[in-house]
Subunit: 427 residues, 2 copies
């Protein structure tokens, strides 16, 4: 299926806008040179003769985008959940991440991670590694082989970190520079480096300055955490008394989207000023609803972000989220928004299925370019879903079948997956 032009046939469904789905039942989705050429109810005459893969009554949707996931935490997904963020980091996360100093362990764990990502509904992702350069390169090698298109980051941490993980400031910058050089040298097709300061509490001002230099030199995007938990927000105020709000502590160093694309996970406690700055700077928000439940962070005001037309995508945030399954993230996003509406603020209406589907496709996709839709010119990321495992006594319309997938699908439903026009091996 690596012909320059090929065609998928099935029930095609994607987001026309935040609130509207485009549906083409038993239609044709045409890929040319890795991009969508068009969606057709009847195949145009000029396209005749190109190979057609007929997926029968399957659904065909854009690939899903995970804007925030931690590869080294995949090994403890679904474990150690009875804690809040800062305790959870100390107890579960840091000791596990320290193991990735050992390449053998890293290989074992990252092989499991990359295999499962390959078989998942995810086609694009922004991935946290650890502080370790070698392990992060290994992770990138493995992700490259999956065929998924990802941004992967070597993490930086030079304060408020257990001795066994803490980097010296200059060494952290130097290792990052070497890592970037290594990455450039490997000439990956699918895998790109992204600057990844863990979060303000773990990075000194000096380190932030160093990272800014690297960003300017190599034009790198950035991936970090923002306003996830109340104690964390308070802590940043103490650490950076000069900051107007948490995001400002990144922005002062030019690391908040003003120069390069930036994705910030969580934004549960982003106030009006922070929201305005994110809008101004085009920051992408990775909304991670399950994580925000599991480590008792709260519920992000996503409706507000959408109303103000910020860039919002979804993140699984494994392992504060228990699964890489982004269908689950969509359902959690709807559920969390309903609880927020009911319990906290009835002025922010719950999210609808259309909106979370948009966030999981086009919303996060935009971080990668023209990704997440089937309009002409979009990069050809597609998932073919066979929902026949979920028997139903009557026929369902395509929109209903998509909703049911959001609540109930897992990797068993994925019949085929394409990234930029290349079919992924799901075995």
């Amino acid at each position: 299926m690596n012909e320059p032009v090929f065609i998928l046939k099935g029930n095609i469904i994607y987001s026309k806008s935040l609130t509207e789905l485009a549906v083409c039942e038993h239609g044709y989705l045409v890929c040319r040179d890795g991009r969508t050429e068009g969606v057709y109810q009847t195949l145009p005459f000029k396209l005749g003769g190109n190979p057609i893969r007929d997926y029968g009554d399957c659904l065909i949707i854009p690939g899903l985008v995970d804007l925030h996931i931690h590869a080294p935490q995949y090994s403890f997904r679904g474990l150690g959940m009875d804690m809040e963020l800062l305790e959870w980091l100390e107890t579960n996360t840091f000791p596990e991440e320290a193991k990735y100093k050992n390449q053998e362990y890293a290989k074992k764990a990252y092989t499991i991670f990359s295999d499962n990502m390959r078989r998942s509904a995810t086609t694009r992702a922004c991935i946290f590694g650890t502080v370790h350069r070698a392990a992060t390169l290994l992770l990138m090698d493995l992700m490259e082989k999956t065929g998924l298109i990802t941004y992967v980051g070597k993490v930086n941490m030079d304060r408020n970190t257990p001795e066994y993980l803490r980097e010296e400031t200059q060494a952290s910058a130097e290792e990052t520079r070497e890592w970037i050089k290594d990455v450039l040298h490997r000439k990956y097709k699918n895998t790109r480096p992204i600057l990844t300061p863990r979060f303000t509490p773990s990075c000194t001002d000096e380190l932030m300055e160093e990272l800014k230099k690297l960003q300017m030199r190599y034009s790198l995007p950035l991936h970090s955490h923002l306003s996830e938990n109340r104690s964390e927000v308070e802590w940043v105020k103490e650490l950076c008394p000069w900051s107007e709000f948490y995001g400002d502590a990144y922005d002062r160093f030019g690391l908040f989207g003003s120069d390069c694309p930036t994705v910030m996970a969580h934004c549960v406690y982003s106030d009006d000023r922070e929201t305005a700055r994110m809008k101004e700077n085009g920051v992408f928000i990775a909304h991670c609803p399950e994580s925000n439940m599991n480590v008792s962070s709260g519920i992000a005001p996503v409706r507000k972000f959408l109303r103000e037309e910020l860039n919002v995508g979804l993140g699984s945030d494994v392992a504060a989220g228990s699964t890489e399954n982004l269908f689950r993230a969509m359902a959690h996003a709807v559920q969390a928004s309903k609880l927020r509406w009911r319990l906290t603020d009835e002025s922010l209406a719950p999210l609808a299925v259309e909106e979370v589907f948009y966030m999981a496709t086009k919303g996060g996709g935009r971080f990668f370019g023209q990704v997440g839709g089937f309009e002409p010119g979009y990069e050809f990321d597609a998932l073919v879903l066979d929902d026949s495992r979920l028997s139903h006594p009557q026929a369902l319309d395509v929109r209903s079948r998509l909703e049911r997938m959001i609540y109930l699908a897992d990797e068993r439903e994925i019949q085929a997956k394409y990234v930029k026009g290349i079919e992924i091996d799901l075995s």
Copy 2:
């Protein structure tokens, strides 16, 4: 495996109490005549010679108990979620339930339901049918064949119901009486009738009186809804101005646990008086966290119920809940309790893994007698879980593996299932 004595070998884990797990690694779980004889680290000499089924490194846990599920709604699980309770009933539920007047449709739909229940983690359940006598009997026939032990109810509704589903008061009572006679005549082994007035808004006082007569005559337990949604609670106040609180509207008719075992789903808005009355009457609460999210009801104060030592179990509440998978219900119960703590009331601590596991086993199991544990004398309901699908770079302890199941297991993990000592066909 229907020998009077047989033995399962594996990593046995069950609730000793609400907060404590009993774990026996690579131990022996002995069944005699459908009941647990004991759990042993070393098999006692006197038990030698009995058949042993060795499940290797699998987990063996008690079967899970679903205190609240609607069989006719299974067909629209994961569909039509963007609504609140009362609108959702009118739009999705009532039109679907009306179809069960047609036995052919009922057979098709209930076959899917009963097959999936058979393959699920559930060993016992309290099940809503519809108002239709014939379809409810059909459902009971099908559930009987699964081998699961269930209470199934023909629903009663004689007001505030669309014409096409509403019963006349006397006819409703008469049909219920005939249904009970039919059930007694069929001499089911596993399937028992339970009175099922839908909820106070759908049942006149006169109908409640008739149901009480039937309860006294046939000694029947009762299954209904309570304090799920704010508008519903207000509505009951209008309909029963004489009631002190919602539950009192059942209690005045003697239908609130004073004479027969009673399970009430939801209790999101139960106030102190209602809670006290439930405790006094021994009412079982079916906590349905996913449903309470999906139809924007809110979050029940489960910590308060547990502190006051009420009977609390879990319900999937399909189709306001999207899945019969009770592992998911346990995870949702933890998640919802964290959000309630964070957003509403920090005096009620989040639920821990041990507590939701207790609720899903012993908590709900008690409604069925000595069910939900592996202490000597408990009815032998067991699930054998093979968690090898979830690869891990290192060995995990048994408690951690149980936690991971709560977040990530589905029917793929179920290697074997026993109900009252009989192995269930999972094919």
